[in-house]
Amino acid sequence: MRLDKTELALIGLAVVLLLGGLFAAPGWLIFLLTVALAKALVVQGVVMQMKAGLVSFGQGLFYCVGGYAVGMGGQFLGISAGLVLLAIGVVAAVVLAMILGLLMTRYREIYFAMLSLAFSMILYGVLVKSQELGSTDGFNVNSWTLLGQTISGGEQATHAVFVLTVIAAAAVAFFLNRYYRSSVGMTCEAIRENEVRVEYLGLSPRWINYANYVAAAAVSALGGGLTALATGHVDPDMAYWTTSGEFVFIALLGGTGSVFAPFLAAIVFSLVRTYAIEFLPNAWQMILGFTLLGIVVFLPKGLWSLFTRARVDAPVSAAPSSTSNTRTGGARA
């Protein structure tokens, strides 16, 4: 297996994060990073669909399924192995996505957005009305084990979830990096550009969207499960539409340019929110709103385009000379 530059960078970053997190960073920062990375996984699910031109305003559905699977697996099935709990969440989300996907893949644009929103609100509606699951308060996640070790609160738990999340995030990013270059991943972008022409090529946009939808659900559920382990609590708000709106926000903040973008955006988002809530508790949403407008108008490809733009734009501004033209071509290829 040959590793490309992105993958090497990914492994390097993961190692740096793990070493820095375990030996240098204070507890609150580790926790913040853990939750940010876990949410970034959900955002990866949103981005996967954005690449195919679909905006999901209901990714909270799978986030919630992943989280509740971890909680309920411990509470009702007596399972304590953390990895098994996460796996249950992913499997549950995949099964659900395989059913819903049959319907979802028939819709595009705002209809897709609305229907995905409706499905996550259905789950929300069911959860608030189920007393056994703590209604609107949700319930706490039982103590769990990682490879035989019992994890029960304190610094040890923070570190355990952190390690688990970093490894999971790196693994997902690794998978996505290859997925986006696979035939299904490439076709997703083609569907966004021109769906009818993809059909002319003899491909079925519907089934490719289906595969993409199910894969995105699995990734998002993993993020939900990790969040549940990290915070030790699940509640129906995970499926409320504003949660999904937050994921769309982070996805746009980062852009679809790289597998790193959602992680970067989620960390920036978490830091900004932490401080904004502290200093301006009643105005931080307003800051988010203006930021979102700013991104849509000035940075439509997200924060990540700040890194790539320098490479692509510089030669274009010097277009008249012939050498820079070839460089432009090279940078775009």
């Binding site: 905006v55 305003f57 319907l103 028939r106 819709y107 644009e109 705002i110 209809y111 957005a113 609305m114 229907l115 929103l117 409706a118 499905f119 609100m121 259905i122 929300y124 509606g125 069911v126 608030v128 009305k129 189920s130 021109n194 009818v196 022409r197 539409w241 504003t242 709106g245 769309v248 926000f249 746009l252 009643n282 105005a283 931080w284 949403q285 307003m286 988010l288 709103g289 203006f290 979102l292 407008l293 849509v296």
Partner: protein, 299 residues
Amino acid sequence: MLSFFAVLIDGTIYASWLFLVAAGLTVIYGVMRILNMAHGSFYAIGAYTAASAIGWYFADGSGSAGMSFLILIGAALVAGLVVGLAVERGLLQFMYGRDEILMVIITYALLLILEDGMKLVFGVNPYFAYQPYTALGRSTIAGLKVSNYDLVLIGIAITVGVALWAWLERTNLGKILRAVIHDREVARAMGVNVRRMFTLTFLIGTTLGALAGALTAPSISVVPGIGVEVIVLAFAVVVVGGMGSIEGAAVGALLLGLSRAAAVHFAPQFELFVIYGVMSLVLAIRPQGLFGRTLARKI
């Protein structure tokens, strides 16, 4: 039999509320092709303005119910027109022509801004404006006690619906607006000032949203976050009826209102489930909604 009648009454009251909430949303989408995520915020702004005005009017302990109704409606008009105009002139007019899905995101940003804007202006404590609600008293219909205020709400919903319909179908301005709905470019080629029509439509939409909020204020406590809850319900109504269709919104509101009332009476745990369940079911069978037009695919 009694419970059947109760479902009918409750369902109709809820349906007229749903219609009032959704009418502005569907008008804006029909003409401008903007799915206004911030519609719930206009609802909330209307509710806050009305509640403040009512509180101020009844502050000295006296006041008449009739006058308080005028205040409700006046507050809604002022709130909807002022904030609507500010938003359309200050933001949306620069965004026209973008992708529909991008407009969803832009109005989502607007929602975030308005939500906190309201907290800054009105604070986070609840507002009450129960006086118009209690002043009208209750009446008994076939053994059921019903608040008269809710019956008035049904009347207002019907009036708003008929007025919108008559305006679109029976006046010159309505005809022009229908031309814009049908084909924006041809309408412009025929000399219609499409941008002015957009401004007008947006103001009508936001004022309807504010009116719905103002009329709801007396029966609830006005707190931050009411707009966020309402917007998804309005979406459901509009999607069921077919986006952009007035008669669709009316039918969608009735369908959802009656379904919810039935659920509340017979299976309360499905109260929220039923609304989105019906919405998903309608979309599965008729993706464009009950009254929506199918669009040809373009390359």
